[in-house]
């Protein structure tokens, strides 16, 4: 006769050692070597930390007019912060005119405003918002930072920047409030129709009207020119690395696709570009662009020094990014390409919908690692005489009042770099967790 199989009922796992004491014993004081290591580690941590805190806080001088006064008060046992405080505006804004600094602040505020909708729930067009930020924001920002005369084309581009910011917020608010796109909402309100064609017309009309208004406003608006020689400090660092980061990702994607292309010419050109820029140190590329580029340009054209540095950084970063992306592309199994092909998807459809999303997701840690590297590498532009954050910190110790004050500004600048890099790193970890949620077993 057949027996009936009855699975046993589930039981809770046995109670393990829990609580703080048990945890300490398990992890810190398990046996004699473990205990010794714990004590040694704590001793080292305590020594370093107490030394740093003594120097930076407890023995530090906060009120002085020259480095001499600091040295007379505490010698070298404490930090001399007044020098850094006095130079703080220069460390952040460079030699940008004091009465125009609001333009920098407003420019970065506009960027933050542009990005906020990306974090708002229920906003659907996030890809479009991100794309608009990458394409249109630079026009707006460059006018804020640079100012000066603007011709018709330049006015039109700046107006596009203003238009983008307003449109992004209109989209975000509309989608948050009504769950409809701007076109659909306007279509219903104005034309009273849910027909897709009419909605599209209404949306285009509204966008055009808004653009005309923006164009009018921008034409009436003028800012004094601040030439790039006066740019510096953290502001300059952010400008160079921001442009480098925004450029390197799309350019890297195209180069990586180019290198894997079946068309020999495209593949060869991409490979040559990547290998050329990867096998030369950034510092050399900066020098080359700074000194040799003007020789190749036609007589009379003067390319701004900052632009030369930015172009060099962008090309260098793109070559590195290309190899990162290529690594991601190689991790995608052949079956994914075959499945897409068998469904009748073409090259670009397969790339944008199937391959690239997976490749980019795999490579997030490396991509952000590259961004962090690029952010720090911008310190090298000091070598061609640009006063970025790092070079500005060096300048503090050359001020006659603060002669020889190097450690404090470098310490401060290191903290700034740390804050930015750690923020990027944390963001990438958060992004990874968010993207992998629910998708893995």
């Amino acid at each position: 006769m057949t027996m009936i199989f009855e699975p046993k009922a589930d039981r809770p796992p046995p109670p393990s050692e829990t609580g703080l004491v048990a945890w300490l014993r398990q992890n810190l004081f398990k046996d004699i070597p473990n205990t010794l290591m714990t004590i040694l580690g704590m001793y080292l941590a305590f020594t370093v930390l107490s030394w740093v805190l003594d120097w930076a806080l407890f023995n530090a001088v906060w009120d002085a007019d020259t480095r001499r006064e600091c040295l007379d008060a505490v010698g070298r046992s404490g930090a001399c912060w007044p020098g850094v405080v006095e130079w703080l505006p220069n460390l952040i804004y460079g030699l940008y005119p004091k009465d125009a600094v609001w333009r920098i602040n407003l420019g970065f505020l506009a960027f933050v405003l542009w990005m906020v909708p990306l974090w708002l729930p229920r906003v659907k067009s996030k890809v479009a918002i991100g794309l608009m930020a990458v394409i249109l924001y630079p026009f707006l920002a460059s006018y804020f930072f640079l100012g000066g005369e603007k011709g018709f084309v330049w006015t039109a581009l700046i107006a596009a920047g203003v238009w983008g910011l307003v449109w992004v917020w209109a989209t975000a608010l509309c989608e948050r409030a009504t769950d409809l796109s701007v076109g659909a909402w306007l279509g219903r309100r104005i034309a009273g129709s849910s027909d897709e064609q009419i909605q599209k017309r209404v949306r285009q009309g509204a966008a055009l009207l808004l653009y005309v208004i923006c164009f009018g406003l921008v034409s009436a608006w003028s800012l004094e020119e601040v030439r790039t020689q006066f740019w510096g400090g953290l502001f300059l660092t952010l400008v160079i690395s921001g442009i480098g980061i925004t450029f390197s990702l799309p350019a890297g994607i195209l180069l990586a696709l180019g290198r894997r292309s079946h068309l020999p010419v495209i593949s060869m050109l991409s490979t040559i570009f990547i290998e050329l820029f990867r096998s030369v140190p950034l510092i050399t590329i900066l020098f080359m662009f700074n000194t040799m580029l003007p020789l190749f340009m036609p007589e009379g054209t003067d390319v701004n020094q900052l632009v030369r540095a930015i172009v060099a950084v962008c090309l260098f970063a793109a070559a590195y990014m290309a190899e990162v992306i290529r690594g991601g592309l190689q991790a995608i199994p052949k079956g994914q390409y075959e499945a897409a092909a068998s469904l009748g998807l073409g090259y670009w459809q397969t790339t944008t919908q199937v391959v690239m999303p997976q490749a980019l997701k795999i490579m997030i840690p490396t991509i952000v690692g590259n961004f962090i590297g690029l952010f720090k590498d911008t310190t090298l532009v000091s070598i061609i005489g640009l006063f970025d954050l790092m070079n500005m910190a060096r300048a503090v110790g050359e001020d006659t009042d603060w002669l020889g004050l190097f450690i404090e500004p470098f310490f401060f600048v290191s903290l700034i770099y740390f804050v930015f890099c750690y923020a990027m790193s944390s963001y990438s970890i958060g992004l990874e967790a968010k993207l992998s949620k629910g998708r893995d077993r």
Partner: protein, 249 residues
């Protein structure tokens, strides 16, 4: 069926030859599949059976011979491959679902992008086919959250969403646990009974007996013999076929 008008030819292959480098994988293969016919191809590994069906939808390009899919001649070098691929559906041994898309999005990708269908219609179509393979309640999940059998059923639904004239199956149950093989085979049987034209590379001889119009045995790049399942299993003519059947039955 004698006396009735012959049904339309969906696949017609004449003197097909294919090489991988120096290796001659397919040798003078001829094959005709008519509408609503179910073909099962079996044979040892390396016999060219996968390559044959991969040539039909141009995942591999052939060097000699002609392939006609639904009357369209497949050009050598894959110049009209996208047209051909849209009339054929393919199911793989390893499922090859897109892990970053939900089950539903896996199914709507081609209808919306490749065929330009509005999103709502594509979703209706996808849900219809997901229901057909019995997996509509998992539509919002991601592929890796499903079992192998469920994933393979999603893969079948995804293929059906392109509304193919013929379905090609490349060892669809070989990567599955024994208990999951049945759920996939059941879906395939149903599909066959609904009148889909199918070519299946598989060693599931029970399936072949149940629905196949013709069983083909391939070895060394040739179709050794073929016939209706009754004949084929009862009286194989060649020693090689007998040997092979002795191993798998």
């Amino acid at each position: 069926m004698s006396g009735s008008i012959p049904r339309r030819k969906v696949i017609e292959i004449l003197k097909l030859n294919k090489w991988f480098g120096q290796f001659h994988v397919l040798k003078d293969v001829d094959l005709t599949v008519r509408e609503r016919e179910i073909f099962v191809i079996c044979g040892p590994s390396g016999s060219g059976k996968s390559t044959l069906i991969r040539c039909i939808n141009q995942l591999e390009h052939h060097q000699q011979g002609d392939i006609l899919v639904d009357g369209i001649e497949v050009e050598k070098g894959g110049r009209n491959q996208e047209v051909v691929r849209k009339t054929t559906g393919m199911v793989f041994q390893q499922f090859n679902l897109f892990p970053h898309l939900t089950v539903l999005d896996n199914c709507t990708l081609t209808p919306t992008l490749g065929l330009g269908m509005p999103r709502n219609d594509a979703e209706d179509l996808a849900m219809l086919h997901l229901k057909r393979v019995g997996i509509d309640d998992q539509a919002m999940k991601y592929p890796l959250q499903l079992s192998g059998g469920q994933q393979q059923r999603v893969a079948i639904a995804r293929s059906l969403c392109t509304q193919p004239k013929i379905m090609l199956f490349d060892e669809p149950t070989s990567a599955l646990d024994p208990e999951m093989i049945k759920e996939v085979l059941d879906v395939m049987v149903e599909l066959a009974q609904d009148g889909m034209t199918m070519i299946c590379v598989t060693h599931e001889m029970g399936f072949a007996r149940q629905v196949a119009d013709k069983v083909l045995f391939m070895d060394q790049g040739e179709i050794v013999e073929s016939g209706p399942p009754g004949d084929f299993f009862a009286n194989p003519r060649y020693d090689r076929t007998q040997q092979f059947l002795a191993h798998i039955l």
